[in-house]
């Protein structure tokens, strides 16, 4: 993919991140919000990989970036697991997962 330069990668990851953010803001359903969150995480990891490929360390791609992506993925997995468990518990307690009804944090 040498012909596609770094800016395209960054542009698309920025776009994906923006879409994830809009999803979080627009959607009412917590699970979809959670998905958009994962989307934003993925977008971030795309930039990391793009940069690790762009900056060569003694000739080879800079694998620190990729290590970070590796950790991001693991953490995301853990996060999703716990998140979904909470969502289920919340659903059982409130019988609803629409953000409009869950406003007990209101002052």
């Amino acid at each position: 993919m040498p012909t596609a330069s770094l800016t395209e990668y960054l542009f698309f990851s920025g776009l994906l991140f923006a879409i994830g953010l809009s999803g979080v803001i627009i959607r009412r359903n917590i699970i979809v919000i959670f998905m958009c969150l994962e989307l934003m995480l993925a977008a971030a990891s795309l930039t990391l990989v793009a940069f690790s490929r762009a900056n060569l360390v003694n000739g080879l791609p800079d694998y620190d970036g990729q290590m970070l992506v590796f950790f991001i993925i693991t953490v995301a997995a853990a996060e999703v697991a716990v998140g979904l468990a909470i969502i289920v518990a919340l659903y059982r307690a409130r019988k609803t997962i629409s953000t409009d009804d869950l406003t007990s944090l209101k002052n």
Binding site: G14, L21, I26, L39, A50, Q66, A76, A77, A89
Partner: protein
């Protein structure tokens, strides 16, 4: 990967993202999510990050999305039905990301860095320059490089277990904690009798077990959320402590002075104060009623008079033989009005007051010990005697 492929996968990724946001049905948005992740993995592969690409597919597309779909199915969520669009929310949702993109683009444009092509020649040069300490002579990486292909997995392995060894262990522990977390969260759902202590989950389990039949959530579920509900309503009232205070023209019966330690939560309304009064004085009343009923002459009660445990013998309404209490020195018409309010009309009543009743009236009339100082009791008995 020729730019055509790049664009295909990029566009696929973006449309997947848009599907996640735009589609109503959570399942279809999950599918969109998967598509997007796959395209993303392809892009990773394009960037020679084969290990990360495969990991992406395995973990994200595979594990996480499946979990999502599983949960969606478990909670059998219908399409978002009635929620009409909040125009402001949608508008905000669109404008903010757009602004974000507009701000980020100049940054990305300013980067304009091309990738070097890692062909065979570049790789052999790279292998030569690899320092001994990092990559020992006999490792598999060196021959692969010389052949012109990137041993991605080996390099990452080498990096992981040398530089990032400790973080790896930490992540392991993290995953362990996450699993235990999920287990405890989910175990409570249909577990056995939780310990009776007052923590939230325990109560919630009991109520959920009982509450199968109750449709709406608001009434009965966990007292703590209920509690948070009404404290939320309640705390608006707390900010202004309103203890009923009598209006200006009867300053003498100003409200009973609040004891210092109870000043913080003394904001309960009128009925609470009444209950507080009765509560606090019930142990006193037993002794009082015992004494006043066995008082001197009239064992049987005159008509429509009752023995109130706090106030001694009182009339429910004005008896015909009521005396003019202002004859007692130190009692003016204002005080008489109050005494009649409490049901005290005759000298006999005042003469029979026990010390507790006196201190009670002292508090009510808030005259600071005036009754003993002007000793109403002896005056009342004399006036009653020569009435």
């Amino acid at each position: 990967m020729p730019s055509i492929l790049f664009y295909i996968f990029a566009i696929l990724m973006i449309t997947g993202g848009i599907c996640v946001v735009a589609l109503k049905n959570p399942v279809s948005s999950a599918m969109g999510m998967i598509g997007s992740f796959i395209a993303l993995a392809a892009l990773f592969i394009g960037l020679n990050a084969y290990f990360i690409g495969t990991l992406m597919i395995l973990v994200y597309a595979g594990a996480i999305m499946v979990l999502f779909i599983f949960i969606i199915m478990l909670l059998d969520l219908k399409k978002e039905s009635k929620k009409e669009f909040h125009v402001i929310n949608v508008a905000a949702g669109v404008i903010i990301p757009l602004l974000l993109v507009m701000i980020i683009c100049p940054v990305f444009i300013s980067v304009d860095k091309d990738f070097e092509i890692l062909d065979k020649k570049a790789l052999t040069a790279a292998e030569a320059s690899l320092p001994e300490s990092e990559v020992p002579k006999d490792s598999l990486i060196r021959p692969k490089l010389r052949e012109g292909e990137i041993p991605d997995v080996n390099l990452i392995g080498q990096k992981t277990f040398t530089v990032y060894n400790f973080p790896l262990q930490v992540v392991g522990v993290l995953l362990l904690v996450a699993t235990i977390g999920c287990v405890t969260l989910s175990k409570k759902l249909h577990g056995d009798e939780a310990p009776a202590d007052a923590d939230d989950d325990g109560r919630m389990a009991k109520t959920i077990a009982k509450s199968k039949d109750i449709p709406k959530v608001a009434t009965l579920n966990g007292p703590d959320t209920e509690h948070s509900e009404n404290t939320e309503v309640g705390n608006a009232a707390d900010s202004v402590e309103e203890i009923e205070e009598p209006t200006e023209e009867s300053p003498t019966t100003e409200e009973e002075v609040v004891k210092p330690e109870s000043v913080a939560e003394s904001s309960k309304g009128k009925k609470a104060k009444q209950s507080e009064l009765t509560l606090e004085s019930d142990k006193k009343s037993k002794t009082v009623s015992a004494k006043s009923t066995t008082s001197a002459d009239d064992t049987d009660l005159p008509e429509h008079a009752t023995t109130d445990e706090k106030l001694g013998l009182i009339y429910t309404e004005r008896p015909d033989d009521a005396d003019d209490l202002t004859e007692i020195k130190g009692v003016g018409p204002v005080i008489v009005g109050k005494l009649n309010g409490f049901g005290v009309y005759t000298f006999k009543q005042i003469s029979q007051w026990s010390p507790e009743v006196v201190s009670e009236f002292d508090g009510l009339l808030s005259f600071k010990g005036r009754i003993d100082r002007d000793d109403w009791l002896t005056q009342a008995t004399e006036l009653h005697a020569n009435k």
